[in-house]
Each structure stands twice: as C-alpha cells, then as structure tokens.
Amino acid sequence: MKRGVLVKGLEKTLRADWMLYLFLVPGVAYFIIFKYLPMYGVVIAFQDYSPFLGISGSEFVGWKHFARFFTDDEFATVFRNTLLISLYKLVFGFPVPILLALMLNEVRIGWFKKTTQTLLYIPHFFSWVIFGGIVIQVLSSTGIVNSVLQFFGMEPVLFLAQKEYFRSIIVISDIVKESGWASIIYLAAIAGVDPALYEAARMDGAKKRHEIWHITLPCISSTIMILLILRLGSILELGVQQVFMLYNPLVYEVGDIIDTYVYRVGLTEQKYSFATAVGLFQSVVGLILIYLANGLAKRFGKGGLW
C-alpha cells in the first residue's frame, strides 16, 4: 500500500515538474557516462595493465604498485612536499578570494569595478605554460624584481634556484593566478544576501565594517564551508603543470610533488597501472578528508555538504 502511494507521488511530481526533470537528464547522463562508468577502470591499479590485453586480459597483481610507491625512496619527499605546498596554498590562498570578493563588493564606481574584475580574471585563462613563463621572466636575473633590488644596490637573486624561496613562489603565483577567478563564486553568494538586512543594520547605525562582519560574512559562511570541504578533498592533487613549469634540479628537494613524480615515473615510462594506483591513493585520502571535514562542519553547526 505504502509503495503504491510512493509511486503515485513520484508520478505526480514527475507530471507536475517534468520539465525540470528533463533539464536534469543531460547532467545525470554526463555523470553516469563520464564519471561513474569509467570508475571500473581503477581495477588497472591492481593489475599489470597493458592496453593491448585490456582490462579483462591483464594480469592481476594485487597491491604491487601501491607497495612500490610507498617503499620508493622518493615517497617521503614527494609526500611531504605535496602536503606542505597544499597546506600553504590552503592557509594563505583560501582566504584571498573571500577578501577580494568583499572588497569588490564595496566598490561603487562601475567602470573601475569592471576593469579590476577583468584584470583579476585574465590570469585564470592562461595555461601554466604561459603564466609560468611570465613568473620565470619576472624573477630572472634581468627581471623586474631583480632590477628593483639592483636599483637599491642589492645583489640580484636567482629566486627559482633557491630552496628557501621555491614553495613561496609556488604559493604566491598560484594566488595571483587563481584568486580572481575563485572570487566569482563568493561574489555570487554576496549578491544573494537580502538587502533588507543591510538596510536594517544601517538604521541601527552599523558602519561598513560592521555590515561586512555581522551580515555579509555570516550570510556566505555556508558557501565558504562548502568550498573549504571540497578543497580538502583535493589536498594531494596539486596538478602537474605549475610545479613542472617552475621547478629545476636545484629545488627538487622542496618542489617535487606526487603529480610531478607520477608524471616522471608513471607516464613517461607508460606505467599506466602505477599512475592509476597513485591516483587512487590521492582520491582515497581526499575522500577521507572530505568525510572528516564534513563531520566537523556539521558538529559545529555550519551545515556541510550532506
């Protein structure tokens, strides 16, 4: 009986909102076809996969590739570097788009706001090959930074060749490139805040900083939390491009990360199974972190993803 009611209910909503469901179809199809179906491919992490033999024909080797990764001399270095760079990016990089969005939101001169936003978004559309080239140029011995140093009578510094600067360069260049783009989502969240709240606050004599602190930030806190949780999920995945573009043998010790390691060992040698195993490890760590962060967020009453 209950089931009948359920089906009937479903039928009713389907009939009433069929158009909305139709809109849902391409999205659901996309995820099933391009995200869920390929998942069975992680099997090759446990095989000596060969494209010719295919998944069904390749030999099953269990944890071999994971064992190789964890016992590799370089594992400790790349794991530490990945974690550190990722944490620095999180600590220093995560708040920047929020600040940018808050500042942009307060700009009242239309053309100035538009120009600033465009300038902030542009770097996002450059690939790291180009943006990295700009970073190298800026920091080279004849680049702008060293020209300023020399103007003040200091010796030029080869920043990219110095271990102590490398991680900072990675973090800062990432902030410069991506913060503008990341601020869009916060701007959208801010735009959704009920203007009545601001009006009421102003009536009570609130200053701009009070408005930001007591209205804007609390109103977008759930957005911030969701983005933070999602960010934690990819903590071990920094992407190969940026570091690959900027690093050199002198900073391998501090700059070599899991992604560059996989690129070197896995892809140039065509060890698909090994690369998959490492990728799976990254995803599992990410998934655990998402669960933890979500649990914490819920405990502190900030919502969470689910």
């Binding site: 391409p26 199809a29 494209p51 001399d73 190298i136 080279s140 080869l158 043998p249 391998y252 070197r264």
Partner: protein, 510 residues
C-alpha cells in the same frame, strides 16, 4: 511565454542527444572510411595509422591528393590512411585505444621515444615479427643502419623498420660569431682552454661594442645534453653508455665525468658559464643567441634556419660559423651522437597483407622515389614545387608549404642524405655541411638496444638523481667529491642491475 518554454525544451533535447552522439562518433568514422575505399578492387588495401597535424588545400585530404594517388598507381597498393592526432602522446593513446578495441591498423608509426611500447607489444604478440620476411626487399634493407635493428629487436626477433630522420643522425654543432672574433682579434678556438679564453673575452671585452657589459660567455640550459660539447671534450655524454674494457658502462659514473664536472664547475665559479643556466629553458637559451647576447653556443644542425637566422635578421653584421667541438685535455672532442633512427614502422600481427606493405615501403626507400615526395612530380614538379636556377634547384616555398603534408606520406628515409633537398631549402644555410659536421663529431650512445627491465623500473629515478647531483656540483652547492657518493647510490639504486643487463646484451651482440 509558451514559445519560450518550447525553445528551452528543444534546447535540452538537443543537448541530451549531442551528449549521446559524442559516444557513438567512432562508428561514424568507420562508415566514412569504408566510403573512401578505392574503386579498383584488384589492389591490396593497407590501412595505415599516422600522426596528423598537416593542413590541406581545398578539396584534398590525406586520402585524396596527387601523392597518394601516385603511390597507389606506382605500387599497386591501395593505401588507406587514418589520420591521427598531431601530438605524439595523444597519437600513442589513440593507437592504444585502437588496439584495445580491435580496430587495428595494418601499419603504424611509433616515435623513437616510445621504443619500450614496441617491446611491450611485441611481447604481447601484437606486432608482426619481420625477420626472414625482409631479405627480399633490398632497397628497404639498404635504408636502415645495421645497428638500428637492435632497437627493434625483441627476444631475437625483428619487430619493426627503423626510419631515419631528415638530417640522418645529425644532432648539434658548436657555433661562434666570426665578427666578434675578428673584432677582438682572436682566432677560432680549438682546445677547451682556448674556448674558455674566447668565452671570457666575449663576456668581458664588449664584442658588440655597445659600451655595456651585457654579453655572455658560455651559455647553457637545464638539459645537459644540449651543451654536450663541454662533456664531449672529456669523452663522456650524460646519460650515454661508453665501451670500456670490452664491456659497456654508463658515462654518468666514469672518472672522466668527474673531471668534466670539476672543469665546468670552475667555469661557473669564474662566471664564464651563464649563472642562470639551471633555470633557463630552451626557448630562453635560443633567445640569447637570437638577440645578440651570446656569441658562442651549441645548437641544432638546423639552427641556421631558426635562432641564427633570427640573430642575422636582428643584426646583419652577425656572422655565425659552425666549428669543431673543443678538444679536451685528453684529446677527446665531440657532441652527443644522434640515434640511427627517429621512428619505427610497425606492422600489426593481424595484418594479412605483409608483402604488400613491405613492397610499399621498399618502393619508398628508393632515393628517386623519395624525390617525388620532396620535389613533386609531373605537373606538381618543376616550376611548381621548385624552379631551376643556374643549374641549382630552389624550392618554391609557397607550394612547398601548401603541400607540406606530402612528406607525411613518405614513411621511409633512405640512408643517403638528401643533399639536393637541403640545398634547395636555401644554399646560404649550408645545411649539408652542418649535417656532415655534426655527424663527424657525434659521440654515439654505445647502448643501442631496447630498454632493459631494470631500466624501465629505475631509469627515471637515476636520471633525476644525476640531473640533481650534476647541477649542484656545477653551481658549487655540492663539492666535486660528492660525485663519489653519487656513483655509490647510482649503483645501489638499480644501476648495478642495469649494468649487468646491458653487459649481457653487449656480450650477446658481440
């Protein structure tokens, strides 16, 4: 209002359909290929998969153009080409997909960097074994250097045809600015010490006469192979294998390498070597040549048509000449030697028409036939692709570039250098001389076989260790004595195993 909802529904439907269509486009391709099949049925069809990237004049494509028609008529083989991605890694991915899905081309071309792929797939039985089948094709056999067969040999069987590059096995030359030498009243340097003296003068004595200390001595960049002449002066090339006491050993761990590093470190300490080199990429390196900052460097045999040409455009006085690499203290000299092949033609083990394929390749290995792909033929030949002027041939660059795809249809490359082509690209570049000079001083890699199992396992880590240690020794972050620790850990981290495997390979080969 009503109208608008209708439109949005339609759009949604279109989106959904196009998402699904994306998955089935492969079937569409196949149908297209079937339609392309040549009408004459007595010819043998050969399906080839090659790297793409060329553009075509209106009405032509890789399967419909004068050259492939000529090829079909001359050889009687109906060549049907599937045109792949232009980037090597994407091409290999696509090839892997084709093999995995059973849609296997008869013939495909593997870049030399993917040699281990060939071995893996030979092991799996995906590649046709060719030994015994090749002997009847004399032109084909003549187009391959005997030692190049090592690279396609797996378990005693031959699994592909190695193909030479346009410039044979030429790699780099050492170039110097004659006008700077003349200005500073210096002779062309011969020994390593003379090279250093000239480099020092180029850096300090303002050879470009602009009154600023903005010129460089020796330049280098993060790839050590690209300034190999400094190592070659000690008889060792980073990453290469050398013969010693009747067996092969890695050059990376020889005492000569330590000497080379000590010498180069001194150059760095004396500021003769550009101190920015570890963070310099290839493009920035070539820019230093193009914009007149450097007057002595190692560059490709074809540099006269790239950065040197730019340098001449920027400064008409720039008079670049190619010279012999420096002679080191022990009398050694040279640049890294190139491989005796740039790609490998492989035939699928499922191909039913091996003889037709080999016949086609044999025909292409004849120098006169190759010329049809370089200089055109019939109406596409003289006064179209080239003009004769005072007995020499000059390529007509408009048509040469417009029909650039034609050289992709030429799978083979005869051993004889195509001097006429190099000359036709512009006699002022002296490309023939550049190629010969580079080949003359090339120090070949003594290991020419396919990667051994331990190489596949450990080589990338060893290469990284070498790159890191050598860089640090040169810039003085590590003392030269750190080389000995490097040798020890090189051996411990798989180097010993690799040496054993290479020694076995060498013993068997002899």
């Amino acid at each position: 209002m009503k109208k608008r909802t209708l439109i949005s529904i339609l759009l949604t439907a279109v989106l959904a359909v196009s998402a699904l269509a994306g998955c089935s486009s492969k079937g569409g391709d196949k149908a297209e290929n079937g339609k392309n099949a040549s009408p004459s049925s007595d010819q043998t069809t050969v399906k080839a998969f090659i790297m793409g990237g060329a553009t075509f004049p209106d009405g032509e494509d890789i399967n419909h153009n004068p050259w492939i028609t000529m090829l079909r008529e001359e050889t009687g083989v109906d060549l049907q080409i599937q045109y792949g991605p232009a980037a090597a890694d994407e091409y290999m991915n696509k090839l892997n997909l084709m093999l995995a899905s059973g849609d296997i081309p008869d013939l495909f071309i593997i870049p030399s960097a993917n040699q281990s792929w060939l071995m893996d797939n030979a092991k799996l039985g995906a590649i046709m074994r060719l030994d015994g089948k090749l002997d009847a094709y004399a032109n084909l056999m003549n187009a391959v250097y005997p030692e190049a067969w090592d690279a396609v040999t797996y378990n005693g069987g031959i699994y592909g045809v190695p193909v030479l590059a346009d410039g044979n096995s030429a790699t780099d030359n050492v170039y110097i600015r004659k006008d700077w030498l003349d200005k500073l009243k210096l002779d062309v340097p011969k020994t390593l010490d003379e090279f250093v003296k000239v480099a020092k003068a180029f850096k300090e004595q303002d050879p470009d006469g602009n009154g600023k200390a903005d010129t460089l001595g020796l330049i280098a960049y993060d790839n050590m192979l690209a300034w190999s002449s400094l190592f070659g002066a000690f008889g060792v090339i980073p990453g290469y294998w050398v013969e010693k006491n009747g067996t092969l050993v890695p050059a990376d761990i020889q005492p000569e390498m330590k000497d080379a590093l000590a010498y180069i470190h001194q150059l760095f300490a004396d500021k003769v070597l550009d101190n920015e080199w570890p963070i310099t990429k290839k493009a920035a390196y070539e820019e230093k040549v193009a914009n007149g900052k450097a007057g002595l460097y190692e560059g490709s045999w074809a540099a006269a048509r790239s950065e040197i040409q730019t340098s001449r455009q920027n400064d008409p006085k720039a008079d670049w000449i190619a010279i012999a690499p420096p002679v080191g203290p022990g009398g050694k000299q040279g640049v890294f030697g190139g491989p005796k092949y740039k790609s490998i033609i492989a035939i699928s083990s499922k191909a039913k028409n091996v003889d037709a394929i080999l016949k086609l390749l044999d025909w292409q290995a004849v120098p006169e036939n190759r010329d049809k792909f370089v200089f055109g033929f019939g109406q596409y030949g003289e006064n179209f692709m080239y003009t004769k002027k005072n007995g020499s041939i000059e390529l007509n660059f408009d048509n040469h570039n417009k029909y650039g795809y034609r050289q992709q249809l030429m799978f083979m490359q005869p051993k004889e250098l195509n001097e006429q082509k190099m000359e036709a690209l512009g006699p002022q570049f002296k490309l023939n001389d550049m190629i010969k000079l580079s080949i003359q001083y090339g120090i070949p890699n003594a290991f020419t076989g396919a990667p051994t199992p331990s190489m596949v396992e450990n080589q990338s880590a060893l290469d990284k260790l070498r790159q890191e240690t050598f860089t640090k020794i040169i810039i003085g972050e590590l003392p030269v004595s750190a080389f000995d620790d490097f040798v020890a850990s090189y051996k411990a981290k798989g180097g010993d195993k690799i040496m054993k495997e290479v020694a076995d390979w060498y013993a068997e080969k002899k």
